[in-house]
Symmetry: C2
Subunit: 205 residues, 2 copies
């Protein structure tokens, strides 16, 4: 197995959990928040800056305008002619490329499928689920309040979609962006991870 696996996912679909299980089954590193922390430390950005990027992208138009404004930020990165968010995207892209160079791994989110698009051994996975299932998970695992869960999910999805579409120029969530897309509440997270493992290790079928 010599694959770099990216996981894109709807908020609350269990994509992160499935990615972690997949990495465990394949015996390869898993990158998510960890990746951001590493990026933040290496680049000198405050960790919060990275966390705010997707939140700011909840409104597509405002996000594009903000990007257009190019608020000059951190001088240390060598990207000081870019807006802070564009700098963050470039620093993250560099980190993602760096970990991909180190060998097989699973990377969740951050537009890694787009950033690594030229890599031969890339496998892109998309995870989604019914809204009711996502609401349930958001309440149980992320501690969202019941009456705010749906609007929070919509907001988080919008952030991911706008962030991805803005930086990649592609459409997030189109089936033909991903080698495999799965509705996670059909089999559940465990068997979904198992099926993805079978897909990646094609020879075992």
């Amino acid at each position: 197995m010599n694959k770099i696996i990216t996981i894109s996912r709807q908020y609350g679909s269990g994509g992160r959990e499935i990615g972690a299980k997949l990495a465990e089954k394949l015996g390869i590193p898993f990158y998510d928040k960890e990746l951001i922390t590493r990026a933040a430390k290496e680049s000198g950005f405050a960790e919060e800056t990275f966390e705010n990027v997707e939140k700011k992208a909840t409104n597509s138009l405002l996000y594009s305008i903000a990007m257009g404004m190019r608020i000059y930020g951190n001088q240390e990165t060598g990207y000081s002619h870019l807006s802070l968010d564009d700098q963050v995207f470039l620093v993250q892209s560099n980190i993602i490329r760096k970990v991909a160079m180190e060998g097989p791994c699973v990377i969740v989110g951050r537009g890694a499928d787009y950033i690594l698009r030229d890599i031969d051994n890339l496998v892109n996975i998309f995870i989604w689920a019914d809204l009711e299932d996502r609401i349930e998970r958001a309440i149980k695992d992320y501690g969202l309040e019941k009456d705010k869960a749906e609007s929070e999910i919509t907001k988080m999805d919008k952030g991911r979609i706008n962030y991805y579409n803005y930086h990649s120029g592609k459409k997030w969530g189109r089936a033909d962006n991903y080698h495999l897309s799965i509705k996670s509440n059909y089999l559940g997270t465990e068997d979904t991870a198992e099926l993805i493992t079978k897909f990646i290790n094609g020879e075992k079928l």
Copy 2:
């Protein structure tokens, strides 16, 4: 296994072949052109009328205009207040619902995922492939000329997309329309059909 399985597919992706293999593995009926012939015979339409529907839909705007014109057609169907294409869609929808009522089956194309959206035991699959792979298949299996294959594939896809989007009001090819979406040239048609079988028969994982 008590599932109604629909297959949506890019032209030349091998989706029809995968659907046929899947039906064979599951031991259930497979409907494609067969379905159209049956529909045509039962409804009194000429078979060619059904075949032309997707071809006409290659231009989204023209198609919408043509649908809006509602050319009054066949009086026999009871849909004579609708355009000919809308009548064909309704007759096809009725046939698709009828075969789904008969029991588990695999239905390829014709917007069956949308038509059967209210059925509990529905499983929607999407098949796509790299353009080079689709060109190769179109030349080998469908006898397309080498220098015309790419434009023919684009035209066929457009027809399917416009036909689906017009009648369903949804977006064709979005990952969250389908329980499972697969790039067929990652594993090849045989193993792709095998993986879908594993997905559908979840308990075996």
